[in-house]
């Protein structure tokens, strides 16, 4: 096993390994190519459907029409997206602070956890859409109201995952910390937090998407009440005016944002874990 440079012309491989190499190569290409093909086919199919059935553009616009709307209304839509993103990321930040903070608190005392975990679950299982109107009655600032709604949706996965992660530290390592006289803080810092990191990042992936959903839902509720400039409000507004292409354009923008957020969180997760965690390590065999 000296120099087996990848561009050595002739490496002898058995048929099974050859097949594996072929499959791996195809998979690499397919990972990008297949989604693109499917999307193109979907768009073509959508267009054909509209043309063949002569669907009026105020019911289902043709893809080109949506693209036009996206370009025409770009500055309007992008500034609304900006407003939504501010809420989304503020909520996500607060969800991280609150979720991790509460998880650490729970890890310090079983009693606290037993007392308050049910509340966290209650917040999670009650649909935000039914709480939001109340929140907007009690909270004057619209920004604060939106933030609270998005936060409620996003913080639970971080809390529950981090709580589990803090508990899952290797018992022998816990014993070793004790043996060397580690303080509570040292055990947290050197053992429990790093052990919880993969769990936390898993929760973050979910919370990223949820904070966007929370922000949009809250905007819908708030938007019907008047002022506002988030993307959800643009959709409502467009629907009143039967500007269907703009609705489609806004929805498209939301979906892309969601995908981008998910990809960003996945990248973050890879960044922190690729050196040591099984989930982020490519298998050679």
């Amino acid at each position: 096993m000296t120099k087996s440079a990848p561009n050595t012309p002739e490496i002898q491989l058995d048929p099974v390994e050859l097949r594996k190499a072929r499959i791996a190569r195809n998979e690499r290409i397919g990972r990008w190519l297949l989604p693109i093909i499917v999307i193109v086919l979907t768009i073509v199919g959508w267009d054909l459907f509209c043309v063949i059935n002569e669907v009026p553009h105020y019911v289902i616009p043709r893809p080109g029409r949506v693209l036009e709307a996206l370009i025409e209304d770009w500055s309007l839509l992008i500034s609304s997206l900006g407003a939504t993103l501010v809420i989304t990321f503020s909520a996500l930040t607060l969800a991280i602070v609150g979720g991790v903070g509460l998880a650490i608190l729970f890890a310090q005392s079983k009693w606290v956890e037993m007392s308050f975990f049910p509340y966290a679950i209650m917040l999670q299982v009650t649909p935000i859409i039914v709480i939001a109107p109340l929140i907007f009655i009690y909270v004057d600032s619209k920004f604060a109201g939106l933030l609270i709604c998005a936060w409620i949706v996003a913080f639970f996965p971080i809390l529950s995952n981090t709580t589990l992660g803090l508990k899952s530290a290797d018992h022998n390592l816990v014993d070793m910390m004790k043996l060397y006289g580690a303080s509570r803080w040292q055990t947290l810092r050197f053992l429990r937090l790093p052990s919880a990191l993969p769990y936390f990042l898993g929760g973050l992936k979910i919370a990223g998407g949820l904070s966007l959903i929370g922000a949009i839902v809250a905007e819908f509720v708030a938007g019907s009440g008047g002022a506002g400039s988030g993307l959800a409000f643009r959709i409502l507004e467009a629907s009143y005016r039967l500007n269907i292409p703009r609705m489609f354009a806004a929805i498209l923008l939301i979906s892309f944002t969601g995908i981008l957020i998910f990809m960003a969180m996945s990248f973050l997760s890879w960044l922190f874990l690729h050196k040591w965690h099984e989930s982020a390590i490519k298998r050679e065999i």
Binding site: D170, L173, D175, M177, L179, W276
Partner: protein, 262 residues
């Protein structure tokens, strides 16, 4: 050869809250610088005994004393015990260096100040070139070596090992056995080595303490009178080794017959 008693267990008993009597009337004096094996079937309380000695669990009855050591508030000798578990028990997110640094770090030693000690410990187990590796990049035997380096970086007086090589293949195991003996002689450790292998105990230790289960207790105390270094294959074919293995084996069988079968 005058030796002091490092550790003395007097009729120690341990009952868990679920009613399991893990240890009963266990008495054991461990001499400074000796290599003692605790040999017994699984469930006979070997790990429990080791944890009590390490100060990681309380004893229910009896007492434990450290005649020669300065003792901290918890009643155990000041920072002089290290523990090696059956699994390497490494922090997967930290490099080999950081893993070995941990015991010193917990005492507030900065990375720079710890460097020399950590590198020396790594050198002793032959891993000086792997300081920046992560545990997942190492083989099972190498991970165990890191674990040993971490144990010896604090220069402990007493090294407790709980079936440390049980999960390794025969070749790696025998290599690590020899390395352990070499380090033990060099470092002036006292070692308490838990194992369920008769041959391992006879090869390593100058004293084999055989334990039986339900309740966990000492049933035999066998001296292995052979000088160190024992020199691998030669010692394994010597009459002393054969006799010690034989006696330990018999004691172990008797111990297992007196309790119920597994």
């Amino acid at each position: 050869m005058t030796t002091n008693t490092l550790l003395s267990l007097k009729q120690v008993g341990k009952t868990f809250s679920n009613g399991t009597v893990a240890l009963q009337d266990m008495s054991l004096d461990v001499q400074e610088g000796s290599f003692v094996s605790l040999l017994g079937p699984s469930g006979c309380g070997k790990s429990t005994a080791l944890k009590i000695i390490a100060g990681l669990g309380n004893l229910t009855t009896g007492n434990m004393t450290w005649p020669t050591a300065t003792v901290d508030q918890l009643g155990r000798p000041d920072h002089e015990i290290s523990f090696v578990f059956q699994e390497p028990t490494l922090m997967l997110w930290a490099t080999v260096f950081d893993n070995v640094w941990l015991p010193l770090r917990l005492k507030g030693v900065k990375k720079k100040a710890a460097r020399a000690a950590v590198e020396e410990a790594l050198e002793m187990v032959g891993l000086q070139d792997f300081a920046t590796s992560y545990p997942r990049e190492l083989s099972g035997g190498m991970k165990m070596r890191v674990s040993i380096a971490r144990a010896l970086v604090t220069r402990p007086k007493l090294l407790l090992m709980d079936e440390p090589f049980a999960a390794l293949d025969e070749i790696t195991r025998s290599k690590l056995n020899d390395d352990l003996l070499r380090l033990w002689q060099k470092m002036n450790w006292t070692v308490i080595f838990v194992t369920h292998s008769v041959f391992e105990s006879a090869y390593l230790s100058d004293r084999i303490v055989v334990m039986a289960a339900r309740p966990g207790r000492v049933v035999a105390d066998i001296a292995v009178d052979a000088p160190y270094p024992r020199g691998g294959a030669e010692f394994r074919s010597s009459p002393t080794y054969a006799e010690a293995s034989n006696t330990a084996s018999k004691a172990l069988h008797a111990a297992m017959q007196s309790g119920d079968h597994l």
